[in-house]
């Protein structure tokens, strides 16, 4: 069916509007980083700096331990993804495949944990971690982030496993697999898009955290994550927003890289051809 001119206009207008909504903050981050301090406070604002300060990136990189912060963020995120995927895959698979007394209720109960705001859990988690002597360690973030990720990830994965026909595992078992073997050799490879989407969700959630990092790590500068590190760049009297924006560009890059890496697995339709 051919689109009319009006339909095309509406379509492109919607696409452009959405793109602007999504990309404007990114663009503004870049403009802020490249502007001089004077220009930042100018009214009306300039939409591209008169004299872009490209050296801001090198200056911030040299002045602050950006690499260390990124490394800490990466450790916390990878640890959180690994731990929460291990738990969520098992739990989501069990909820999808096995019926047990109270199973559905248990599944919903898991989800209520997600409904509690993170700030509500900060104090109990702090007291638990402190009694184990973990305060200041990156392990606190791995555990705390997992409590945020697992409930939702479990349901994401359950939903994905539900779309995979049970007969595939039954066929694998008749072919000689154990139940675990059928899951590992048949279900998980087919579930790759679901696993990739869930891992990406988990990574972003951990990477974006500030509240937990601030609470558990504030006195251990060696373990500061990127988000925590950047807030320390805010001065008591003067804040160099261009420096902060430049540092923010650095911490956005890994997320973009991860997305580009996982994107190829995010395509659906891998089960096509399993059934008639």
């Amino acid at each position: 069916m051919r689109r009319t001119l009006a339909q095309s206009l509406a379509l492109y207008a919607t696409v452009i509007f959405t793109l602007v909504m999504i990309l404007f903050p990114v663009y503004w981050l870049l403009v802020t980083a490249l502007s001089t301090t004077d220009e930042l406070y100018r009214l009306p604002p300039t939409f591209w700096p008169d004299n872009p300060q490209w050296d801001v990136f090198a200056r911030v990189w040299a002045a602050k331990p950006i690499l260390l912060w990124l490394w800490n963020s990466m450790l916390a995120a990878v640890g959180s993804v690994a731990l929460s995927m291990l738990v969520s895959v098992s739990a989501g698979y069990a909820l999808s495949r096995y019926s047990m007394r109270g199973g559905a209720t248990m599944g919903l109960f898991v989800l209520t944990a997600k409904m509690l705001p993170a700030t509500l859990l900060v104090i109990p988690l702090f007291s638990i971690f402190s009694s184990f002597g973990l305060i200041g360690s990156l392990w606190t973030l791995v555990l705390a982030h997992s409590t945020m990720i697992i409930p939702f990830a479990t349901w994401m994965l359950k939903g994905y496993f539900d779309t995979i026909p049970k007969e595939l595992e039954q066929a694998a078992m008749v072919d000689g697999c154990s139940p675990i073997g059928a899951m590992v050799r048949v279900v998980l490879p087919i579930a790759t898009p679901g696993l990739a989407a869930t891992a990406l969700y988990a990574f972003v959630l951990s990477w974006a955290d500030y509240a937990y990092a601030r609470t558990f790590l504030v006195n251990s500068p060696d373990n500061w994550t990127a988000n925590l590190g950047i807030t320390t760049m805010q001065g008591e009297y003067v804040t160099y927003w261009n420096d902060i924006a430049a540092a923010s560009v650095f911490i956005a890059l890994p997320i973009i890289a991860i997305y580009l890496f996982l994107e190829r697995y995010l395509v659906g339709g891998l089960t096509a051809g399993a059934e008639k």
């Binding site: 072919d175 891998l270 399993a274 059934e275």
Partner: protein, 360 residues
């Protein structure tokens, strides 16, 4: 290859009995079809046989070995699923070879046997494709290939043709029959389609409500149904049923007193069964006149629908809602609403107890 012995196997979910004690001896190399309407327990029986569901009670032997509590992979059986259940992330070659790989078969041996199976099923050109690039018929062949490559003791097939279109289904039906003759593996085949059951089976097991109704060869089922259910299930169009009264070897049907030629026990209310193909146009030992309510022409023969007193609608048989049917050879035209004469031989009547449905 082996014989299969199912001894008093039953299945219940709590208070719900889906399978009453089920016993069946299957000979080595035999092709047995379990047939019945949805929910009759046939697929449950197959899953229990495969080890995909535990039996509540009873024992299963394959060959001399008891397999009741063995995992599916340890029973040395192969299964073909209704939806094929091909592994979508593997190529056709890997799909067919998967079971051998799981059993630690040598790589060159796997290749040799996959090539053999692919040749038998004519899927060699597709060995490097993924299932999504195959047509329905090709997928069905790959699913069969996955079963035959293992050279198992028995094949279990769960409605393998029901996802194919009508023409392909007839072809594959013949191919599965030929394949069974060629490799001679004991096969248990589940279907709801009585035509598949009649055409493919050495023996048919008819089930309803988790209970075996009759176990017999196809012709025996057709000629000597054990009860009302079997009589109505086998045959197309289904058998006509009329309520009547049996007294001293005589009954009334189609407005005629009929003396039964064979000595028949019993008195009182009966169901009279008459197959549509046993009704003929024109004179016969018993003849009566009817006004057809509908005439369907199939070219060389016609289905004549008519109403009669005492006509009984068989349970769940939709064809019967149009009344009684005669299947007659006739190439001319039969106008509706004009009386025609139909006849039959009382020797071809079936009598059933009205209460129990058992054949008299």
């Amino acid at each position: 290859m082996a014989n299969i012995s199912i001894r008093n196997v039953s299945k219940s979910y709590g208070a719900l009995n889906v399978l009453r004690p089920f016993s069946l001896e299957i000979e080595n190399g035999e092709f047995v079809v379990l047939v019945g309407p949805s929910g009759c327990g046939k697929s449950t029986m197959l899953k229990i046989l495969a080890g995909l569901e535990p039996a509540t009670e009873g024992q299963i032997f394959i060959g001399d070995r008891e397999v009741t509590d063995l995992a599916p992979g340890d029973r040395d059986i192969a299964m073909v699923f209704q939806n094929y259940a091909l592994y979508p992330h593997l190529t056709v070659r890997q799909n067919i070879g998967f079971g051998l790989k799981m059993r630690g078969t040598d790589k060159t041996e796997i290749d040799r046997r996959v090539d053999d199976a692919a040749r038998i099923l004519e899927v060699t050109p597709y060995l490097d494709r993924k299932p999504k690039d195959l047509s329905g018929g090709q997928r069905q062949r790959v699913a069969l290939g996955r079963a035959i490559v293992r050279q198992p003791q028995a094949f279990l097939m769960d409605e393998p043709l029901s996802n194919l279109d009508a023409k392909l289904r007839v072809n594959m039906r013949a191919e599965i029959g030929a394949l069974h003759k060629r490799i001679g593996v004991t096969t248990v085949y589940v279907t709801h389609d009585q035509v598949e059951a009649m055409t493919m089976a050495d023996r048919v097991v008819i089930m309803q409500g988790g209970i075996i109704q009759q176990i017999a060869a196809p012709d025996e089922l057709f000629n000597n149904p054990a009860n009302l259910f079997v009589a109505g299930f086998i045959g197309s169009p289904g058998m006509n049923f009329l309520n009547s009264e049996l007294r001293d070897g005589k009954l009334t049907a189609f407005g005629r007193q009929i003396s039964l030629p064979r000595a028949t026990n019993g008195q009182g209310p009966v169901v009279v069964g008459l197959r549509p193909e046993h009704l003929v146009l024109g004179d016969a030992p018993v003849t009566f006149g009817v006004k057809p309510t509908l005439v369907e022409s199939l070219g060389s023969e016609k289905y004549v629908y008519f109403d009669a007193e005492g006509a009984r609608i068989a349970d769940g048989d939709e064809g019967k809602s149009k009344g009684l049917i005669a299947r007659v050879s006739h190439t001319g035209s039969l106008p509706r609403d004009e009386e025609i004469r139909l006849g039959f031989d009382p020797d071809q009547l079936y009598l059933f107890d009205q209460k129990t449905g058992e054949r008299l």
